[in-house]
Symmetry: C2
Subunit: 377 residues, 2 copies
């Protein structure tokens, strides 16, 4: 019987910090297998991954992940709580014994924090005039005297809440992040955040990021069409201009008349940056707005992103990962998808297929149809 540790990741791209996390996750859990649940072609902050999911699966496998399973677009492009819930559900389905995650404060008892945040009388939060996550943070601060206000601590809390809500037996393994905070734009030793790395690749060149990437990853990153949401601006603009308001307002998360604001700005502004500045208000973060633009691109409504049947999509594995998959197969309730044919395009995979076609139309590489999992010998 192989034991497994699960990791939730975007690997956008895989960098030295991820390698460090992977190593510690193995050491601390003594697991035989590392399972990564990885965002597919679109990531949580509402953007395409810088390279497609197949290249990023290659990276993960090259760096020691044994099994890569896709976090579907309807779970990945979501606010942190829904992202965490979708991902944890998959890790749990995969029968992992533990879940390892990076955070700023590995000394916090996340299992306890997750329990308390969820079980606390939620009615009492409703009195506040603040968003729900802020309320939970305030409650935790009141009860424990600690601050959950850094990005990876917040995500860790979301994982812990999801594990508790799902009544999962998975052990939580917080791993202290080193060297670089998530949003650091500058490089720091051999560790740089994924966001700083992406920025450098997109605005400068791939060469500038070599020190911050494991050698196999650097090699796999060569010669791709590096994508950002701005690569889809002409299509986003087209959609916002052309689609009638009463259809635009059907899009997932198109609340409070945002469709008027978006359409007006799209008619007026020819450049993506100017458009984004025009729609930004204090009320909405850039991530919230960018995710909304992804839903517009996908022509996706509430049903596509909330009421969908679950499935497991295998992106790649090595012999250990394959052995583990065989071991747990019978305990998995969901359909396991390893290749996609035409007949499945109306099925659960529909939204993922559309999300993949957006990428395929840019990079010319098949994303779903005709693709088999990557097998690393």
């Amino acid at each position: 019987m192989l034991s497994a540790v699960g990791i939730i990741a975007e690997y956008n791209p895989f960098h030295n910090g991820h390698a460090y996390q992977l190593q510690l996750a193995k050491q601390r859990t003594n697991a035989d297998v590392v399972v990564a649940v990885m965002s597919g072609n679109w990531v949580q902050r509402g953007a395409p991954a810088i390279v497609d999911k197949w290249v990023r699966t290659e990276m993960a496998l090259a760096m020691g992940v044994d099994l890569v399973v896709e976090l579907p677009v309807f779970d990945a492009v979501q606010p942190a709580d829904l992202f965490a819930r979708g991902a944890v559900r998959i890790v749990d389905q995969l029968q992992c014994d533990s879940l390892a995650f990076g955070c700023e404060h590995a000394d916090y008892d996340f299992a306890q924090l997750g329990r308390i945040a969820v079980d606390d009388d939620q009615a009492h939060f409703r009195d506040y005039q603040q968003p729900y996550p802020a309320l939970i943070q305030a409650a935790i601060n009141e009860q424990f005297g600690i601050n959950i206000n850094q990005p990876n601590d917040i995500l860790a809390l979301n994982y812990a809440q999801a594990v508790h809500q799902l009544d999962s037996k998975m052990q939580l393994v917080p791993i202290e992040r080193v060297g670089s905070r998530h949003h650091d734009a500058d490089f720091n030793g051999a560790l740089a955040s994924a966001s700083a790395i992406r920025k450098a690749i997109l605005s400068r060149s791939i060469k500038t990021v070599q020190p911050y990437l494991p050698a196999p990853v650097y090699s796999l990153l060569q010669n791709h069409n590096y994508l950002d949401l701005s690569a889809f601006w002409s299509i986003i603009r087209y959609q916002l201009v052309m689609t009638p308001l009463d259809e635009l307002n059907q899009r997932y998360q198109m609340t409070e008349g945002l469709e008027y604001r978006l359409k007006e700005a799209a008619i007026k502004h020819a450049k993506f940056k100017e458009f984004m500045s025009a729609i930004k208000t204090k009320r909405y973060t850039y991530s919230r707005l960018q995710r909304l633009l992804v839903y517009v691109l996908l022509q996706a409504n509430q049903d596509d992103f909330i009421h969908h049947d679950p499935y497991l999509r295998v992106l790649g594995f090595n012999p250990t990962g394959q052995q583990y998959l065989n071991q747990v197969k019978s305990q998995i309730d969901w359909p396991i998808i390893s290749k996609i044919d035409q007949s499945m395009l109306k099925s659960v995979i529909k939204t993922e297929f559309n999300a993949g076609m957006l990428i395929q139309m840019k990079n010319g590489q098949y994303q779903d149809l005709y693709r088999h999992p990557i097998i690393k010998k």
Copy 2:
């Protein structure tokens, strides 16, 4: 009282043949005013005009047209009979005394042919296994021993039918086309068809067409982003791939399950030419399919292209044209639109605005909002 001759045109672009037609139309009718009803940004065969409607209005005014009125996209991007009906209705509203048009056989009595084709017992046509225009042509051949099988003769017949159907008093003025048949791909003296000219501009260079264009037109044609339907391929493909089948099949003219054929081909083919070959069958002409792609681009349903309220949109005039417009204004039943503000975007102008935004997103020039008619001194 000024008398006026109407011309229905696309001026895509204006060429020596159009100049010849204009001159003869004036000579033969002795009209004081030439009114052109011109396709806007999109033309009958299902494509964007090579340059936008404002540049083409400048051309028409430079070459002696006194008043240019827009043929709205819902009339322009239609099969020949609906194109003719929409255009003739506008010429008639503009109180023109006559309608001049080019044709291969100016000796035919089009007024009579138009009457007969329409009034003949249409039930008797239903026995045939042929499309309606072919049946009319057969009936005319039977009755008069003449063949209406060349493109401009066919269009002329459609004009004649529309004039008769509308019970218009306009006189028909057929003008023999010289030098070049409509579809000739090669140049012939100083006359070349608009289609040969477009092809040369798009595939070779603007310089190669200088001999076939009046000097003012050649000058106005410089330094534009020359458009063809293929310029919109990435958006067409996006729409076909992303839009659900049950929404695609709501598009105007999306009949007989064409949505399946189009979606499948769009998923498969990355190049426009290959896509077009894949969807082409004997059943549908390229023009029919290209028009369908324009409806897809416009996200336009039956209502947008069939059940719309009429209006007159003035694109440009010289002092004579302005005087004429003032003379006939009180006899025009439709709203006359000369400039468009935000409040009109939900009105009759909606489809035209969308059609213009497609062009504006390519060439960066305002097409409808903030545009006033061009006034030539």
